[in-house]
């Protein structure tokens, strides 16, 4: 039995759904229906809190039938994945080329059942941060192809994943643009580390998402990328910490680790004064624990070499 309060469809008119089969039809349909929302897998748009905030009646452009958005193209040193590829297939495509830490991080986004329904484009284009996908792709130095549908003839450009969001983690993509695909170059020697302190979907006000990647040359840290994501607040790339870690020798002594973590905390607080004490503490602790983990891994490697 449906009660009035539960039946969200009672006063809604049926949405008009457009299903373009190529980019040309997509451009035309977007011009016909400029307020239409793009629909990927639907795992974000179908949740009740999102559904109730959309226009009534609404117009939907389903991206399901455009084949270019579902392509996966691999070369020896890169992979291009269409925005409508689901997260499970994305993980499977990355498996031969990236380390386990990356695959596990993608798997941590949700169960296989959810990953088969969620798409890359959909997971990136949410109003607030709902998954750790943007963090993972930032550490992988992903590039994103954006296609603008403003004019009759659409045009594309590539941007780094970090340019997809402003400093508060809000999507900078305009309403008449879509993500076509992402491109990632493989770097076999790169190390990755990802941590979530909770579920960005269920515990959005207390979760901290952390990602770091770097190259280790002999005992030098190179090409470090660090990113924090706070689901209801935004993204933070701590440039000062990245600079402090440039060419850092490992193992890092404990006083230096403490100083780095303290500086990080100060910078995050400056950038996000409304961040909760809990999330701030989580951020500095995860960062500290990563540096200790780095020390430990490096020393274990030396032991192994010595034994040989």
């Amino acid at each position: 039995m449906i009660t009035e309060e539960e039946d969200v469809y009672e006063n809604l008119k049926s949405a008009t759904v457009y299903t373009p089969k190529n980019f040309s039809e997509l451009s035309n349909m977007k011009m016909l229906a400029p307020k239409a929302i793009f629909w990927g897998g639907g795992t974000y748009l179908m949740t009740r809190e999102t559904n109730e905030n959309l226009d009534n009646p609404r117009e939907i452009i389903s991206l399901d039938k455009i084949p270019e958005l579902k392509e996966i193209f691999r070369t020896d040193n890169s992979i291009e994945v269409g925005a409508m590829v689901n997260l499970d297939n994305f993980a499977a495509a990355c498996r031969p080329m990236f380390k386990d830490e990356v695959i596990q991080a993608i798997h941590s986004i949700g169960t296989q059942i959810i990953r088969k329904q969620a798409t890359i484009g959909g997971a990136l284009c949410t109003r607030t941060i709902k998954t750790n996908l943007s963090v993972i792709l930032y550490c992988m130095e992903a590039q994103v192809e954006i296609r603008s549908l403003k004019r009759k003839k659409s045009f594309s450009r590539w941007i780094p994943i970090s340019s997809l969001y402003d400093s508060n983690g809000k999507l900078t993509l305009s309403d008449d643009s879509i993500i076509v695909k992402i491109k990632i170059y493989t770097q076999k020697d790169k190390s990755y580390f990802f941590r979530n302190t909770g579920s960005p979907m269920l515990d959005s006000d207390t979760t901290t998402i952390f990602g770091i990647s770097n190259l280790i040359n002999q005992n030098n840290l190179l090409s470090t990328r660090i990113i924090f994501a706070y689901p209801q607040i935004g993204l933070h790339i701590p440039e000062e910490t990245i600079t402090q870690l440039a060419n850092q020798f490992i193992p890092i002594n404990p006083q230096r680790i403490q100083k780095l973590a303290q500086n990080l905390g100060t910078n995050i607080k400056k950038h996000f004064p409304n961040l909760s004490e809990l999330q701030l503490e989580q951020s500095t602790r995860i960062f500290e624990s990563y540096l200790y983990y780095l020390n430990r891994s490096f020393l274990e490697l030396i032991q192994i070499h010595k034994r040989k």
Partner: protein, 171 residues
Amino acid sequence: MIINFKVDGKYYNLNVNSDKALNKILMDDLGNTSLNSQCHNASCGNCIVLINSQAALSCLVPAFKLNDTVIQTFEHYQKTRLYRDIQKAYSEVERTPCPRCFAAKTLIIESILQSLLKNDSQKYKNIEEKDKEFINKELSLNSCHCIETQELIRIVEKALDYRGRRRVRKS
């Protein structure tokens, strides 16, 4: 919007709102009673159905994606041979999920069996620690805690064994 699809072996031609969720269509328009879907938020995991033989949360599937799909609810699934592997596992372990989440958990187990045997048809002989982690994670999709995780993992292991051996005998 008119949608044409097959549910539990029967063809339907329905006029529904184009973005109406599948779980609502099954419950309101087709009178399904096994779904027990409550949250509208993909957080309870009680609305699992099989769409083209793949498990999916029906609260996340809009009507406009359903044309020409084949949907199987638990009501139909439990009449199949596939269900018998899991039913035998429940009997052997002497534990079953509660009536509220029985359907959903069983379909999640079915999804796990398909996934493990698809990657390695001999998986039933050797379940590794990472497989148990995978099983644990998939089962966490349903939020009901009526049955211990270890018991559920044993049920999956037994069901995997029955399914794997049955496939070997069949081939």
